[in-house]
């Protein structure tokens, strides 16, 4: 069912680029979900996508010297959630990471690449650009999501 569009101001959060700040993300998510009356399933998927994207930034888009900040903006537009993540670390494009080739057996499985695979599966739109020395990641998540059959490659 498509939600009636009740415009709510975009919600913003600024995090320091370190893992203990993920607690702040949890608080923001709770508030954002409540303000937009998001169903529990959408909150779970948003939580997962943001955890993966922001953890990637904290792990990889991190330069030497002073702490960098990560800026999050979220808004609900009808039947989807729009998220923008901006950080000032070194250029890091998560969308160019090679999609996981899903293993057929436990023996050939390697744990890497799961995060970006999950982000790709749950988002209907994923776009990166490097602008004014900042990484800008835009994601769009449908509020109602139909799991796709996971395709094996290779």
């Amino acid at each position: 069912m498509i939600r009636e569009d009740h415009p709510v101001e975009p919600s913003r959060l600024t995090l320091f680029n370190r893992h203990d700040e993920l607690d702040q993300l949890a608080l923001w998510l709770e508030s954002f979900a409540s303000a937009n009356a998001l169903p529990a399933q959408a909150v779970f998927r948003l939580d997962l996508v943001l955890t993966e994207a922001i953890t990637n930034m904290m792990d990889y888009a991190h330069g030497p010297g002073a702490e960098e900040l990560i800026h999050l903006t979220g808004s609900v537009q009808g039947d989807h959630i729009d998220i923008e993540l901006i950080d000032g670390g070194p250029a890091f494009d998560p969308t160019t990471y090679k999609p996981a080739t899903l293993p057929k057996t436990l023996e050939e499985a390697t744990p890497g690449g799961l995060g970006i695979h999950l982000i790709r599966q749950y988002t209907s739109h994923l776009e990166y650009r490097h602008e004014n020395e900042h990484n800008v990641l835009n994601l769009r998540l449908p509020i109602q999501y139909t799991p796709q059959r996971t395709h094996r490659q290779g």
Partner: protein
Amino acid sequence: MDILFDEASHNPKRMSLSGRMDTKGTGLIELRFTGLTATDSDNVMVDMSQVDFIASLGMRLLLSCAKAKSARGGRMVMFGLQPMVLEALETAGIGSLIPLCADEQSALASLAG
């Protein structure tokens, strides 16, 4: 995040996880979970019914331990997963690598099969 291990259990070992299997939660249990699951050949049953969130780091821990168990000739199965956690694991492709059973009975049947 917490682990409850049935000390009296032996092949299959039985344990349950509870809480959020995010970066912090996974870090809290990683050492103990690895020690309980990945260091011998006993089969393992993991009750996941009290896990209400999982991210890729948590999935990696499960995958690594299941692989180590398999390399030692044993098997790890999980059961009782909450619907969104199950969806996340299946979306990640882990459902086809580690048995994700509905309940304890089907987990036991999976180990016997």
